[in-house]
Amino acid sequence: MTKPPIELTGIHKAFGELEVLRGVDLSVERGEVVVLMGPSGSGKTTLVRCMNLLEEPDSGHVRICDCAFSCGASRDGRGRARLMQRARQQTGMVFQQFNLFPHMTALGNVIEGPRQVRKLPTAEAIALGERLLDRVGLADKRDVHPSRLSGGQKQRVAIARALAMEPEVVLFDEPTSALDPELHAEVLEVIQELAGDGMTMVIVTHETHFAREVADRIVFMDGGVVVEDATAEAFFTRPSKERVRTFLRLVDHSGAVVDAPAPRVGEEAV
């Protein structure tokens, strides 16, 4: 059996006084879809950002495909920047706020990585870009700038941009939470199709129905630690922790509750 494409061990991360991740171990197997859930402020975003080192943990080990990093005191120095670029080429990331390049067309956004990073010849990059735009249902938006796209379309371009690096893993941080509710489905469908194709994915989301359908595993975080790590089936039908049961009751009734601002330290979340 091959090594899991993402392996985090003993991850700690603080912002100033605030300890956001307090010892997280998590690995993601090839072809697996892991959904990260948990109340606002529990460290989900920080954790997925550690999976491509957009956030540098204070301590712990991160392995991304064939790139291994030690963080904190034993942090490896030389060649790290290059290794990080290499690791990031093997992970795609889809952001809550899309972060499309506004000065480039939809196609321009998608082929930027293939052209500038993978160094594909232009014709090949364009062919790849067109294929990916078609895959996310936006072939006709090829030459349109992001400002002319709806939120759902922007996020689908962002997914195509991530896929254009032909990554081993795609990370999603609340891909629908900046969108109007009626636009969620078009984005979730694309992600679902990727799951069907066997793509390895880590998805932060509050959408329980979607999570239940798409996830192989649900990882529930609270207060910077993993509270529950179970199959989707077990997580939703017989959660072992009271904390998870409370959370599920709340999101089932209204998704709005968990989108509330992060609770202050010491205050019980939700």
């Binding site: 491509n52 957009l54 920047a81 670029q85 290499r86 690791a87 990031r88 080429q89 992970t91 795609g92 990331m93 952001f95 706020q97 972060n99 499309l100 390049f101 506004p102 000065h103 480039m104 930027e112 990585g113 500038q116 990073v117 700038h145 400002s147 941009r161 991530a162 254009a164 690096m165």
Partner: protein, 215 residues
């Protein structure tokens, strides 16, 4: 009216020198300003410190004094520059200090998510700067940079104190010759105004062009 006809060739030459001073100093000042802006955001403390010092000195002292130090003062240290090069040097250094701040504002004004998105596809720092950040920073900085160009055009009139025969100096000598100061200065005032009106029309066109993708 006669006076105008007689002095027309002089005015035209003065206009040429004014444009030369303004355009050359703007180009040199922009290049300098871009380098200083990069130094200002770099990871190296010495670079950052020198950039801050430079900006502070050239923004914190009158341009007139900078021009006089370069033209009248430097010869004491054995550096003798002709009037026009002196004026261009002073104007470029002065404009560079302001432009570096405009460029820095443009760079910092680009959403941090843009750096992250570029990082997330494995793009290295400089390439990210060139391909992703710079084009957006230019757009953000254009109004301020355009304003600086216009200010610089007007500042060229200070070159008259170091004997550069640009528009202001021409008007002075026309006035001295026939005591028609009012007409002479009104005339060149109108010429500065015309140059700057054209510049701001150009700036507006550039802004619309750069903004097209974002509209």
């Amino acid at each position: 009216m006669d006076m105008l006809v007689d002095s027309f060739p002089m005015l035209l030459r003065g206009l040429g020198i004014t444009l030369l001073l303004g355009v050359v100093s703007f180009v040199l000042g922009s290049a300098l300003g871009a380098l200083v802006a990069l130094a200002r955001i770099s990871a190296f403390r010495v670079l950052r410190g020198s950039a801050i010092m430079y900006v502070s000195i050239f923004r914190g002292t009158p341009l007139l004094i900078q021009i006089m130090i370069i033209y009248f003062g430097l010869p004491q240290l054995g550096v003798q520059l002709e009037p026009i090069p002196s004026a261009i040097l002073a104007l470029s250094l002065f404009a560079g200090a302001y432009l570096s701040e405009n460029f820095r504002g443009g760079i910092l004004g680009v959403d941090k998510g843009q750096w992250e998105a570029a990082s997330s596809i494995g793009m290295p720092y400089w390439r990210t700067f060139r391909r992703i950040i710079f084009p957006q920073a230019i757009r953000i900085a254009t109004p301020a940079v355009g304003g600086r160009f216009i200010a610089l055009m007007k500042d060229t009139s200070l070159a008259s104190v170091v004997t550069v025969v640009e528009l202001t100096r021409v008007a002075e000598s026309i006035g001295n010759a026939n005591f028609r100061y009012m007409e002479a200065f009104l005339m060149i005032g109108a010429m500065y105004w015309l140059i700057n009106t054209l510049l701001s029309v150009g700036q507006g066109m550039l802004e619309r062009r750069l903004g097209k993708a974002y509209a």
